[in-house]
Every structure is written in structure tokens, then in C-alpha cells.
Amino acid sequence: MAADQDLITDVTDVEPVEIPGRWDFAFTYFAGNAASRFFAEIRENRRVMGTRCPKCRRLLVPARSFCDACFERTTEWVPVSNEGTLETFTIITAAFPGLPEPPVVLAYVTLDGADTALVNVVTGVDCSDIDAAAARLFEQPRVRLSFVAEPQGRMTDFSFVLAD
């Protein structure tokens, strides 16, 4: 039998323990044939391809192996223009750990010929005055693709730049 002074009835009188941890797990993502072909076209031919759904006939960009709305495999591969219209955007102005240094302009763009919009960063925008930059992008300007010098077969091989 424990003596009275050994009985613990209050656990709040203690320094809470904190254990440091890291959430670090390695993965290998298989892009599959559709995205691999999409990336190869960017790398080799500097062009963006879409796939067409045989049912709804939408040209899906970036290319994918199936249309999730119709739940059908896509069939046809079709290139789209290197120019398009900016649909919506944000200008990231605050820094977050592990993410690119601000300011960053992120936008969805519909390349001419596509039925869907594609996300990427818009480079070369003067962000010294955020409100002025926002006003410019709010007008849905025309943009075109700008490819990096040595494409690796990733989405980061290109970005959007203002067309004029």
C-alpha cells in the first residue's frame, strides 16, 4: 500500500513534454503514359498537348488518360496554341516556409484551342506596386508560354508571360 504522499491526484502540475519530429516520407510518383507523353512534347517539341474526351468532346489540358466527368478514356491527342487568355490569378505576397519567395503570380490560363484552363506561374510581371499589377492582370490579358533553356520534362519547364 502506497503512502499518502505517493498518491498522485493532480497531473496539471507538470511541465508538458514536447517531442520534436519530422514528417519526412519518400515517394516515387509514376506519372503514367498520358502525363509522360505530355511532358515529352514539352521537352522535345516545346508544345502543349491536350486529350479529347470521345463523349463530351472537351479538349482537356493538361493531357490526361481519362475524362473524370464522363468516366471515359480519352482518345485523341491535339496540340493547343502557345498563347491564351488569363482567366484568374493571385499575387502571393506573404512568405511561407518551404514555398517560393514572394511575390509570385499564379494564374489559370486557357490556351487557344483548349476547353480547360492550365495553372502555372506568370513571370516577368512588375510587382513593385501590387495594386497596379493586380489591376493589370484583372483585365484578363493575353499571355504566351515561355520555356526554360533546358526543359526537364516537368511543369516547371515553362511559365506564362504577358503577350504584349
Partner: protein
């Protein structure tokens, strides 16, 4: 044949940046105990436990919920549907009870993101690793892309975003469970630092920890208790691809097609035909002002193009339902639990147990859930009146 089911107990730990004095299992247990006490039940009266935790990476624990209130032979479910995790868990519990396989369900959602050093870095890893994760897509930028589209399409201004946020903060002053207790004016919101144009810091939800629990009971178990009957509940999922929705003829990216579909189904089951006048309180899963604005037309409260005017009418027009008497997610956003908190708060309003934030005479309340790439939408209609058994 759906048997009537009701929420008869609610328990919440309260929400704050971190509960450093409590483990995950402590928080789960505390909310569960409060809910069972509120229902006048013990764990033995419950036949299934449903827990929601999403995403695991925010807490750095994979199965943190499996350390508490599990065992003793009860069925246990682990729901993970992002932002709608809490409402999905509630609906799952409701299905077990309505099917007759459980007399009552205990539903608990814990958020433990106080253990994360950076939520936005984690949120970047929810995006498609092949086409999208290379870009700084996060919950904030995803909302900002929609906010700028709403401004262009329907004429919202930064003042509208600020007014919505300010009202939510003001309501939270009466909710002791809320994380943020600050009386920010619309000007304060607009003067707060810009995170991602057009979103300012005080328009964005905080990172909050805490657990929420409810008890869902069948008709027999609800007798002699204070029920909030589930009159209608519906969940609908959308395409992941945001770019595919920009030109969608039936509803664009900012028109929340899935929330509209869920509302239509839930209203039909609840017998709601005129939501503005038949619903007294609306608890919205709206972690950003612009996310709240998107819900108004989807819930049938106004036309999309009348959204800005609808914001201006709030608090002035006594005909309108009361929005987020709890303060909503802008005053506390425990991600896994937030959609369940909406249901719990709506249930407290219907049951007349909402304390200082109680809205007088609530007969019917609505709670929404929103998750994924504005992709998963849930609607739950709760009322004081027992719904008829459907055949």
C-alpha cells in the same frame, strides 16, 4: 426507408492555436465525454464510433485517433475527406443509426495541427504531384484565385470581403469556444497584411486545434432527450481539376455546383422550399470571406449576380437568416473538425443550448461543409420537428 435520427449531444474542447497540456487522446476523450454527458448517455449506449482526422500530415500523427475511445468491440470508422471530414463522419454515423445497425453513434473529429510547424507547406502536398504540386498552390492561393474571379464576374470588392470577416469576428466575441476573440472592423481587415492578392490576413482562417463530438441517436434513444432532428443531409463531390471548371457551362469554378446539388437534395428531404425564410441560422464552412460569398447563391439565398448586394443586406434586413453566430471558421478552423463544428453549432441553436450566442426562436438551422479543391460539399438541415419516416 430511412428512419429518423437526431443529434442529442454536443461536446467541444474549445479551439486555440495549441492545446499543449493535452494529448490527442485526451482531446478526443474530453469532447466525447462532454457530448455523452450532454446526451445523458454513457459509452455503453453507443454502438458505433466514427472518427475524422484529415489530413494526418497536419498533426504529424497518422492514426492519432486510434489511441482513444476505440476498442471494447465497437465498430470504429476513420473518415478522411479533407475539409468535409467532420460532416462526412456525422453522415456516416447517421447512416449506421438510420440503417438500424446502431442505436446511437458517437462521432468525434480531432484537429491536432498545433503540432505542425507550417500548415501551408503541408497543404501544398495535397495537390496533384504530377501537374500541380510544383507551384505554390495552397489553401490560401486556391481561395485567392477564386476571390479574384468572383470580383471580376460578380462585382465583389475588398470591402465585401472585409465586411463578411468583421461580422464573423464580432459574432465570435459571444462564443467562448472560438479561437479568435478580436473585434476587427472592416477597416482593420483591409489594413491587415496582404497574403495573396486579394486576400488579407484577417480574412483568412487561423490554425486551430481542438476536438468536437456529437451523439446521433435513433428515434427511441432520442426520447426524453433534447433532439435536433436531421431533416436532410447530402454530400456531393466534384472534379479535382479547377481548370476544368472555369469554362463549365452549368457552373463555373466559383458557382459551387456541388454545394447547390447537396442543398437541393437536403432541402427536398427537409421540405424546405424558401430557404431564406424557412431557415433561421446558417453555419457555413467558409475559411475565407470569398468562400462564404460563394455559398449564398448555391444555397438558394440570392442570385449570383446579387451576391454583393446580399452582403450589404446582412445585419440590416431582419428577414435574413443569421450567419455564423459561432463566428464560423474565420474565428476557429480546426480543419478536421470544422465541418462537424458547423453541425454541432447548428444543433445547439435548434436545441436552444447555444449560450450567449443563442439566436432566439430557432426552429431550423443549416450547416455546410466544404473541402478538397472546393470540391466536396455537404449540407445538413437540422430542425426541432421530427421528420416523417421515408419509404
Amino acid at each position: 426507408m430511412s428512419n429518423p435520427v437526431a443529434i442529442v449531444g454536443v461536446g467541444q474542447t474549445g479551439y486555440r492555436r495549441a492545446h499543449k497540456d493535452k494529448s490527442s487522446s485526451d482531446l478526443i476523450w474530453e469532447s466525447a465525454k462532454l457530448a455523452l454527458d450532454d446526451a445523458g448517455m454513457t459509452i455503453d449506449d453507443v454502438d458505433v464510433v466514427v472518427q475524422g482526422v484529415a489530413p494526418d500530415a497536419l498533426s504529424g500523427e497518422i492514426c492519432g485517433e486510434k489511441t482513444a475511445i476505440i476498442g471494447a468491440g465497437k465498430p470504429h470508422l476513420r473518415v478522411n475527406t479533407g475539409g468535409v471530414t467532420g460532416s462526412s463522419a456525422a453522415f456516416s454515423g447517421a447512416s449506421y443509426v438510420a440503417s438500424g445497425r446502431a442505436r446511437a453513434a458517437l462521432v468525434v473529429s480531432l484537429e491536432r495541427m498545433g503540432q505542425a510547424t507550417s500548415s501551408q507547406q503541408v497543404f501544398n502536398t495535397i495537390f496533384d504531384p504530377v501537374y500541380e504540386k510544383d507551384f505554390p498552390l495552397t489553401t490560401i492561393t486556391m481561395a485567392a484565385l477564386r476571390a479574384s474571379m468572383l470580383m471580376r464576374m460578380y462585382g465583389y470588392t475588398e470591402e465585401h470581403w472585409a465586411k463578411i470577416a468583421s461580422r464573423n469576428y464580432r459574432n465570435a466575441l459571444k462564443n467562448p469556444l472560438a479561437h479568435i476573440h478580436k473585434d476587427y472592423s472592416p477597416q482593420d481587415v483591409m489594413d491587415s497584411p496582404l497574403l495573396a492578392w486579394p486576400i488579407h490576413r484577417y480574412e483568412a482562417c487561423p490554425m486551430s486545434e481542438g476536438a468536437c463530438a456529437i451523439v446521433i441517436a435513433d428515434e427511441r434513444s432520442a426520447q426524453g432527450r433534447t433532439p435536433a432532428w436531421i431533416q436532410g443531409m447530402a454530400s456531393t463531390s466534384d472534379s479535382y481539376a479547377m481548370g476544368d471548371r472555369i469554362h463549365r457551362p452549368e457552373a463555373t469554378l466559383v458557382d459551387l455546383l456541388t454545394l447547390r446539388m447537396s442543398a437541393e437534395r437536403a432541402y427536398a428531404d427537409a421540405g424546405v422550399t424558401d430557404p431564406v425564410h424557412e431557415i433561421n441560422v446558417i453555419e457555413l464552412y467558409s475559411p475565407f470571406s470569398s468562400a462564404e460569398a460563394m455559398t449564398y447563391p448555391a444555397l438558394g439565398l440570392c442570385k449570383a449576380e446579387d451576391g454583393p448586394a446580399f452582403v450589404d443586406r446582412q445585419g440590416v434586413d431582419p428577414e435574413l437568416p443569421v450567419f455564423n453566430p459561432s463566428g464560423g471558421p474565420q474565428a476557429a478552423n480546426p480543419v478536421s473538425a470544422t465541418a462537424l463544428v458547423r453541425i454541432a453549432e447548428a444543433a445547439l441553436q435548434v436545441r436552444g443550448r447555444a449560450g450567449d450566442r443563442q439566436v432566439p426562436g430557432v426552429r431550423r438551422a443549416l450547416a455546410t461543409g466544404q473541402g478538397g479543391a472546393t470540391q466536396f460539399s455537404t449540407v445538413c438541415v437540422l430542425g426541432a420537428q421530427r421528420p416523417p419516416a421515408r419509404s
